[in-house]
């Protein structure tokens, strides 16, 4: 009979995990507020350039977004590596571009149509040739308000390769 009992292990008090859900919920709400649901599945590589003098586009209901860039890796086999235009979920050739945009404008309620802005989300490696064609087509259908959508950041990063 020993008088002393050796405690083999000193019990460290357990860390309470009761507040873990709260932390995770906080994270969850953060992400819910700062992110926007993806409307379109991107089929093109779309790394936007940076700019500093940007203005936020308010009023989502009057914006038509078009994406321009090289087809993503999965689509390269069928569509090649030249920059392409994507509207909604489809690739659109420059000859169909005008009619597609017109159709998109006509989907909008009539009182919004004069205020439609075309947001150009263009990959920074794309060449201006295609963008010029796009702008010409937009002029033909009188969709004159455009927005070169960019990220906020040092604009000189765009130059380096």
């Amino acid at each position: 009979m020993s008088k002393f009992k050796f405690k083999k292990t000193i019990n460290t008090p357990e860390v309470s995990t009761a507040s873990l859900p709260d932390i995770v919920f906080m994270l969850l709400f953060f992400f819910m507020t700062v992110t926007v649901m993806k409307d379109d599945t991107l089929k093109v590589i779309n790394e936007l350039p940076n700019a500093t003098e940007i203005k936020k586009l308010e009023k989502k209901d009057r914006i038509i977004t078009i994406y321009v860039g090289k087809p993503g890796l999965r689509y390269e086999k069928f569509f090649g590596t030249q920059p392409k235009i994507q509207i909604d979920d489809k690739f659109v050739s420059i000859s169909d571009f005008g009619t597609t945009i017109l159709a998109k404008i006509n989907e909008k309620p009539e009182h919004l149509r004069p205020f439609i802005t075309v947001s150009l989300k263009v990959d920074k490696t794309a060449s201006m040739g295609l963008i010029d064609d796009v702008k010409q087509e937009l002029r033909k259908i009188h969709a004159l308000k455009i927005n070169y959508t960019t990220y906020e950041g040092d604009t000189f990063i765009n130059l380096g390769k």
């Binding site: 969850l28 993806k38 003098e53 203005k55 936020k56 586009l57 963008i131 010029d132 002029r139 960019t150």
Partner: protein, 203 residues
Amino acid sequence: MSSRAEVPKVNAGSMADIAFLLLIFFLVTTSIETDAGLSRMLPRDSPTPPLPIQQRNILPILINGENELMVNGEIVPMVNLKDLTIAFLDNGGLRSEASDYCDYCKGERSTTSSDNPEKAVVSLMSNRKTSYGTYITVQNELTAAYNALRNREAQRLYKVDFTAMERLYSSKETTAAYKAALKKKIQTIQSLYPMKLSEAERK
């Protein structure tokens, strides 16, 4: 003796897992999308050719296929573009007797550069092979030049930045009455330095 039966506690240990699942779901389905950028108005598709402009009132900017920049016939680095544009716009080269003399300009008043900001036109010409990134940088620097001048005038007249006024104007919280007042101020500043950016069409 207690009067009520004890309510068994619900185990909240799995709450974290549920929250994590939700979190991961949102992480996967959403992306931090940007909805800001440089707004431009395309010119109308008109068949009439524009009126000829005097050479001194045009700042020709060329970007070639190798993304090099040429302003006024000289190859310049991109960092100088903003200052060159400001110098051109703010020149105010007319003599002080002239009717449209620019009394708020602080430029060199050289006779070989623009007469006044109203007449000054920035002409931008890019090559089909120019990369979009470079083009946006140029557009950004030009906007920065205009914004710098407009900010200066807004500070002088209203003690507030032009860009700050624009931001307030597009904000949802601003009341309609305040917006109307702001709009007037914004238009005044814009008329002092109207943005005349012409993009030449290639043949």
